[in-house]
């Protein structure tokens, strides 16, 4: 096979794996949107916050150390212990559930029945708050996240493909693990929402708040549940991205990566999020590969958005949405 084609295949594979990651973040959005009609811009910051908390707990950092030091003139920073990854993850899940409860009680409850765009802007505010809060709690320097995931280029794939095609594919082992975990998560969430009692309640709430309330479904419980799941998804995404490029502010920008995915796939469709993620992952990598060098590179920043924008202009309901009949 010619080198160019092999190259393109490698790029496509990498794009597919990036796409799975996008889909994973997008999934968090879809869950919350389905259950509460809220487009949660804070999803990316939740991933950052989860990753920060995980690293902080693992390394035994003292929360708010900077603040305490500034106020009392002390010099505390670490408790001096080192938690195993597993324990830290469990504790972080707990923190994310707590966060869900707080968000429900102090924000969502007061914003019932507001227009979607107001809710959207409120989550931008929430994102800002959590970003400041997370940084204040754990400090804003770049941190290394290590929960024992495999790292580096997979030699076996490199060797095998070299034997087959005379050209070795470079694929990050972390990406493979991430793909597998994301796929598992997607499957289990789909099963959960289709077959469990809470899942059914969740879909009922998504369909009609009032009707769901009237058959005795607790809206507040469902919201806490959904935000907890979204927090869990954020944690997984945070671990994957954090392991790849360190835990830092830019981690919260993965939300921005997921937005065009949602526009493509529609805000309410889990399969849409997955397909949209894959299209964008592959699309932006191939575009950068084929066209990028001609126009100065770094096209990944905007390609997804422009693609989604063009797509929406011609098909406003997204890939899997139904055509909307407007009424007056």
């Amino acid at each position: 096979m010619p080198d160019q084609l092999l190259f393109a295949i490698e790029v496509t594979l990498n794009g597919l794996m990036a796409g799975v990651m996008y889909a994973l973040v997008a999934l968090g959005f879809v869950l919350i949107f389905k259950a509460s009609g809220i487009f949660n811009y804070a999803q990316g910051v939740m991933a950052l916050f989860a990753a920060l908390t995980l690293v902080g707990l693992q390394n035994g950092q003292v929360p708010f150390a900077h603040l305490i030091n500034a106020i009392f003139g002390t010099d505390v920073h670490h408790f001096g212990w080192h938690l195993p990854a597993f324990v830290a993850i469990i504790l972080t899940i707990g923190v994310m559930i707590l966060l869900a409860i707080i968000v429900e009680r102090y924000v969502l409850k007061h914003l019932v029945n507001q227009e979607p765009i107001i809710l959207f802007m409120a989550t931008i505010g929430l994102a800002y708050f959590m970003e400041g809060f997370g940084d204040m709690m754990w400090g804003s320097e770049i941190k290394k996240l290590d929960v024992g995931l495999p790292q580096g280029i997979s030699e076996s794939i490199d060797a095998t493909t070299y034997n087959w095609f005379g050209y070795g594919f470079f694929i990050d082992r972390l990406d493979i693990v991430a793909t597998v975990i994301a796929a598992l998560l997607v499957i289990s969430l789909t099963l959960f929402s289709q077959y469990s009692k809470q899942g059914r309640a969740l879909r009922a709430v998504a369909d009609d708040h009032q009707a769901a309330l009237s058959v005795g479904i607790s809206l507040r419980f469902i919201w806490v549940l959904v935000w907890s799941i979204a927090g869990f998804v954020a944690l997984v995404a945070g671990i994957m991205w954090g392991a790849k490029s360190g835990v830092q502010f830019s981690l919260s920008l993965i939300a921005l990566k997921a937005l065009p995915v949602l526009m493509l796939g529609g805000f309410t469709s889990i399969p849409g999020a997955i397909v949209g993620g894959l299209i964008i992952g592959v699309g932006e990598k191939l575009f950068e590969f084929a066209i990028g060098p001609m126009i100065g590179g770094a096209t990944e920043n905007w390609f997804a958005y422009v693609l989604a924008l063009l797509f929406l202009v011609f098909r406003p309901q997204g890939l899997f949405g139904e055509k909307i009949i407007e009424r007056v």
Binding site: F39, H66, L67, A70, V107, H110, L111, Q114, P116, I117, I118, F120, M121, A122, I124, G125, L126, A127, Y128, F129, M130, E131, G132, F133, D135, M136, S140, L256, L259, P260, L262, M263, I295, G296, G297, A298, T299, N301, W302, Y305, V306, A308, L309, L312, V313, P316, E326, V328
Partner: protein, 358 residues
């Protein structure tokens, strides 16, 4: 007592639709203008100009612009930073391309160019609505910043990739470049603000403003009773972008002097302006000023108190700033979606009745 409309009779429809129907408001408005033009230029120093007043004035223009689009026409945009960048780069190209023409025309020209770009990116608003559109405007944000970063023509092939403003004068007084006096910076921004706020007020109280608000409140009904949605939305995008473009041009040429696009006009800028509009009050010109003042003053205040007085590290003050801003956004959206402007209106309502509330 003196804050009354009783006895202040209107005898024509023109009188009735003026900006400040209550006499006291009118006088206060003149007083503010008199202080702004007659007193502040003489007492201003570099710190006040650069830390507070000039950014406040420029952000007020941008906030009015976004308020026209979001507050009046109901189209949320997250592309403000990108449009400010268009204004800045258009101004730079005009300044360096036509040095013999006055900077005032460069800034206005930059506004018109941004208006064109804004209308172009506003086209999708005809098909998509709500936060789909908000996300779509992010395309403008990312694409424009990338464009100005990657195409050397925009920064005249300068080695640093930055643009920097050469010295330009108005009536022989430098308003851009390193030799500009604080009061000159302040005054030129003030002139733009006063004229543009007046234009914004005129547009929003007349036919076109009503067509924007009709689209905002109920777009389908608006179209059926005769509002052309294409015209309403595109003019909103264009006018809004004109204001934002002028703000971007001033921000670059008068305030900063040199700009690196990704740093100055990134998505954070878009959010900053949006927050000004939310906190100040959606659909209010006064609110745009209030929001801009608030968002400019708060970090300065926090920094002075926490870093200056208590000796905290600066990053801690910055984190606290984030938290406060975020919390305020949520609180305002929950408690008072019309922002500071509405609080102000309520206070005035009370004042009108005071001291006889019944």
């Amino acid at each position: 007592m003196f804050y009354r409309e009783a006895g202040d009779f209107k005898t024509s429809y023109t009188d009735d639709s003026q900006t400040f129907p209550i006499k006291f408001d009118r006088w206060r408005y003149y007083a503010v203008l008199a202080v702004a033009f007659g007193v502040i230029p003489f007492i201003i120093d570099d710190y006040w100009a650069n830390a507070v007043l000039v950014p406040f004035l420029i952000y007020a223009i941008a906030a009015i612009g976004l308020n026209i689009l979001t507050g009046y026409c109901g189209q949320v945009s997250l592309g403000t930073g990108g449009f400010m960048a268009v204004g800045a780069y258009a101004c730079y190209k005009l300044m360096t391309g036509f040095p013999e023409i006055s900077i005032v025309f460069h800034v206005i020209g930059a506004g018109f160019i941004t208006a064109g770009v804004g209308a172009l990116f506003g086209l999708p608003s005809l098909r998509i609505k709500g936060f789909y559109l908000a996300v779509a405007t992010l395309a403008a944000q990312f694409f424009l910043v990338w464009l100005f970063n990657k195409v050397p023509w925009f920064y005249n092939n300068s080695a640093s990739g930055q643009i920097s403003a050469p010295e330009r004068t108005v009536f022989g007084i430098a308003v851009t470049g390193p030799n500009t006096e604080a009061w000159a910076k302040y005054l030129i921004c003030l002139c733009f603000v006063v004229v543009l706020a007046w234009v914004a007020r005129n547009l929003t109280r007349g036919t076109i403003g009503r067509s924007w608000m009709a689209i905002r409140d109920m777009d389908i009904a608006a179209e059926i009773i005769g509002v052309n949605p294409l015209k309403a939305k595109l003019t909103a995008f264009a006018v809004s972008s004109f204001f934002i473009g002028v703000a971007g041009a001033l921000f670059f040429s008068v305030y900063l002097g040199a700009v690196e696009v990704g740093e100055v006009f990134g998505i954070q800028k878009s959010f900053l302006i949006l927050f000004m509009v939310i906190i100040g009050g959606l659909g209010s010109i006064f609110g745009s000023f209030a929001g801009a003042a608030f968002m400019v003053l708060m970090p300065v205040l926090l920094k002075n108190v926490l870093v200056g007085q208590l000796g905290w590290p600066t990053d801690l003050a910055a984190h606290l700033d984030f938290m406060i801003v975020g919390a305020l956004i949520v609180i305002f959206l929950i408690a008072e979606p019309h922002g500071l402007a509405q609080l102000w209106r309520l206070a005035k309502e009370k004042l009108r009745l005071w001291p006889f509330p019944h």
